[in-house]
Symmetry: C2
Amino acid sequence: MRLIYGALHFRITNSYRSVHRRFQSSMTTQVNKSVHPFDKARLEALLNRRFFYAPAFEIYGGVAGLYDYGPPGSSLQANIIDQWRKHFIVEEGMLELDTTIMTPAPVFETSGHVARFADWMVKDSKTGDVLRADHLVKNVLEARLAGNLEARGVTAAPQDEKDKKKKKKGAKAAAVALEDGIVKEYETILAQLDNFSGPQLGELCRIHNIRNPDTDNEVGEPQQFNLMFTSSIGPTGQHPGYLRPETAQGHFLNFSRLLEYNNGRVPFASAQIGRSFRNEISPRAGLLRVREFTMAEIEHYVDPEDKNHGKFNEVRDVEIVLLDRHVQEAGGSETKKMKVGDAVDQGVIANQTLGYFVARIYQFLIKVGINPERLRFRQHMANEMAHYATDCWDAEIHNSTGWTECVGCADRAAYDLSVHTAKTGHPLIVRQALKEPIVTEKEAVEWNRKNLGKTFKQDAGSIQKTVESMDEAALVKLKSQLAQGSAVITSMDGKEFQLTPDILTIERKVFKQSIREFTPNVIEPSFGLGRILYTLLEHSFWSREQDVERGVLSLPPLVAPTKVLIVPLSARSEFDPLVLEVSTKLRRAGVFSRVDDSNTSIGKRYARNDELGTPYGVTIDFASVQNRTMTLRERDTMDQRIGSIDDVIATVTELVNGTIDWTEACQRLPVYDGVQAVD
Amino acid sequence: MRLIYGALHFRITNSYRSVHRRFQSSMTTQVNKSVHPFDKARLEALLNRRFFYAPAFEIYGGVAGLYDYGPPGSSLQANIIDQWRKHFIVEEGMLELDTTIMTPAPVFETSGHVARFADWMVKDSKTGDVLRADHLVKNVLEARLAGNLEARGVTAAPQDEKDKKKKKKGAKAAAVALEDGIVKEYETILAQLDNFSGPQLGELCRIHNIRNPDTDNEVGEPQQFNLMFTSSIGPTGQHPGYLRPETAQGHFLNFSRLLEYNNGRVPFASAQIGRSFRNEISPRAGLLRVREFTMAEIEHYVDPEDKNHGKFNEVRDVEIVLLDRHVQEAGGSETKKMKVGDAVDQGVIANQTLGYFVARIYQFLIKVGINPERLRFRQHMANEMAHYATDCWDAEIHNSTGWTECVGCADRAAYDLSVHTAKTGHPLIVRQALKEPIVTEKEAVEWNRKNLGKTFKQDAGSIQKTVESMDEAALVKLKSQLAQGSAVITSMDGKEFQLTPDILTIERKVFKQSIREFTPNVIEPSFGLGRILYTLLEHSFWSREQDVERGVLSLPPLVAPTKVLIVPLSARSEFDPLVLEVSTKLRRAGVFSRVDDSNTSIGKRYARNDELGTPYGVTIDFASVQNRTMTLRERDTMDQRIGSIDDVIATVTELVNGTIDWTEACQRLPVYDGVQAVD
């Protein structure tokens, strides 16, 4: 997760606002969604009220970082997963896996997670409360920068004002002006925050007098806290296990089987959607930082000598916003917009395969409804990146807390497959028949072992080692000396020995290699589905111009939990046959609908479904019974059209499938001007 | 899991064989799938070779009870889940949930899992090896019964012979004849096995000299082992947690939110598909007993006073095979075939809602490919059932290990919602506005608290309690005594007190109740998806008549991992455009296909896909390039037809969607009699 602070925040936010308007106005023609500023509290109340998600075990007081998804949240997540599966697994012919969460300890010892999958935590020196060290530094410095602006009388935009107030509450920032040098220093620290080690974070706390904002107490030295949940497998308690913090190891351990399934060929990819667990130190950011989450991971296996991608040309022209490591390492955060093709050609992105996935991630996020103007790809800085990775880009999505990493895309090189191979002795490699065998000529030594042993006894081994470690030139020299009768060599332990042709001969021979063995490199796009879901909800939320209390979630039909709401005028039984007919026909057309026949006005029912993000609604009333007509309502514009039941079903089916848009639907169905107001 | 033993086993198996043939012959006309007897080792080799699933962490030596699903297993599972979602969630308008796996301890303390979710284990008295007590008794007694048959020269069917050999290996059964009384006793024990408590299992081991078959050592007293995996939440280790052993509690804790989402109405159902964990003592039965598994659970909330179901008439005539509790409690296992309607009417199944779900479970299992002749519903015996449940039926599927519980369907009454309400004080209840308020008249007591306290001091409370616990008749009597001046009552602790009208008055009053509050009862269908998947694979497996090594998985197209295999004659680039065209058109038609252009004969590629259960294949060859024709192959019959590329795509799409069958397809497409043999 990256941060936004001070002046930069304002610039980005303002710039976002204007493009956000443009972005939305291209979707609908009449609706101004930006009349009311974004109000996080209002969104959260809506999500809670409509049970998108809620704190798990709420009636037991809840547990930080654990959330349950209710019906609309579950559907939204299922629809995002469905699109993910189509966009990646089906489209790219990936091999899907479903591996276990419970993992015996040796696997994570090998992978490095036991030693290194940790965050730095600090303890309040008096209360013993535990805080995450980097979050502490970030919150306190951001609050001081905000306090500085306040002291200098810089007016923040209303939205930011709210953010600031919230931060102030946590971090108790006083409106104190700071020297320009200090401001610069804080900004540089914040830009590089992900680059600091634990001891460095401790030093920052001492130098800048960073204390626990809740108590104003000093904090101790940062200590590592491993984020994996522990357990033990079997009745004897002898087999320690961990809950996986990512699905990746399950892919790697099955590499040989996957390769065989793929007829021995690379490149190919495995994919997995599943639950992972991280025992976060002190999660307080809603769905953005949780202890249990659904992720979707791809491991794409490539020849380390050829990281080009066969479909790269298809994404060459995709334009993305990049924040590269050099800018960050210099303390900045200026982004640039580039075509993926140019980024790879210019070496900004390390290789085509990495670039291909960056572009495909971009396309996926836009497809499910993320605002492209609030999406950037941030490159990891040198210290931030896992030691084995060669390049790593995070898809960051802007939201009310700043920029949040939602997808990581790393070139993990051969690290994982190599360490598991070394540990288990099971070769996780590719054996490739060479089209043309590689033919090499070199000097080959042949020993007369009998004579060697008889002549040199216990020194025989040392002599053999010495000769066999010689390079080509040395062997040629030795060969010519032997041709002249004898040669003197110096063994590794400094002794001299005289060798003769009855001990060894050296001959030039031809070697033919027809199989190439290599450990593939792995490009890993890794998606945090809960973070995507939450930022999507923020991007989709707005309030009706006429009433700020009337919230709407403009979720794209592709991912909306319910596509069509069926609203009978009342629960009277005379509407039942038509309700059944419409819902059955929609189901057959593959359109998910729900009936709302609750005992309240049609307007209230539509308002409730605006909050649920339902894009279309059809009303069944007395005219429907008499004339077999039905009205069709569009969520964002509240436009209503009318047509025969079958025409409306056909039109809404096309709308949901994305083959027509609302403008086109309006050309097919006349406007509804019935006397009966439904909104 | 239930067992099959001795003579009964043979009867069922033989009876199964004949109906199995009938069942299969109705599907295809020309293929005899029963030429070769079922061979479990051959199936397991196939599933391993094709990576349907494999032991997790295999290269680290594996961990018992943990399995990874490879590409075909993942797809098969995803397709079964997809059908489940359509059959239950969409069809019945259920509310889907996605709740957390990690659960704080208090939840499972309340639910009773901490105290009772345990199996009985025994320890080998010398090696300390741990065995599950009921499995030990079962295995040893079954082996003795098998040894008895062998000693008496009863020849078993080949399939059973193999089973027996396997069992013998584990349980070291000698071919020893048993007295008829002993055989009867063993059979009775086995039929009632699920009914025994831990101490009873210990007594059985002593009486019948049951020892650890691996070592022949005695075993100790059965001890309870809790099956929940433990962990701890947060950095301080202060919050113990468990991995859920079922998804159900996540439903119950959210009941109030779900009810509100459903506009306050019952009946309704919540549904959840997700991972659960059970730390099994010694899992050795492949996918049938695992430590981590995907389950699908429904919690259907009903008015305890009305367990009828609105759609019960739709399933009235569904015929199912039942094994009721009375038969089992008498030591038998005779089943009877009944219509669900009759079973409910005759009180065999407790109520309509339970009966409705039993029928829907039956329909679902048949739809995904379970052989109806190997499916029965077994009722829980009195001791076996959770103490709170009122009735429970397991859908058991017959397989090479006997009858295995794959779905449970229980009426859990109001237990869960009540205990969480009592613990948290959060009322998990339904409040229903009564159409007609209930008007009752009764005697109401009014105290003069001042006089009461003054007169009776410390006895006041006891007197109040005594009077207020009186029934209507007692109150009427007291009232008439008071009307005469005074009354003497005896308090609960035996003291006598004289009451007068200045202490209390009793008057007949009218009470009006317009809201009814009740805790709904819960009907819970709970599906073990891995068990369904494995038994489906057994039911689908057979070998070609001409070659026992050529295995086929006759998975229904609905759930088959890949629907259509695209086979270009070779990987030559001239076929590429057609391969792309066909795969794109199939994808647009919603049909999942895979291309196999590996460097081997078409026959071998088809054989590999027979093992993967791919129902249809199309071949692209030179004729396709010249004439735009394509052949279509059906997996079971190996029939090949030919037609234009578009006709074949249209036909295979209908085949996959189930709108036509192969017979009809053959009427549309002529037989392929090309010179080029493809099988």
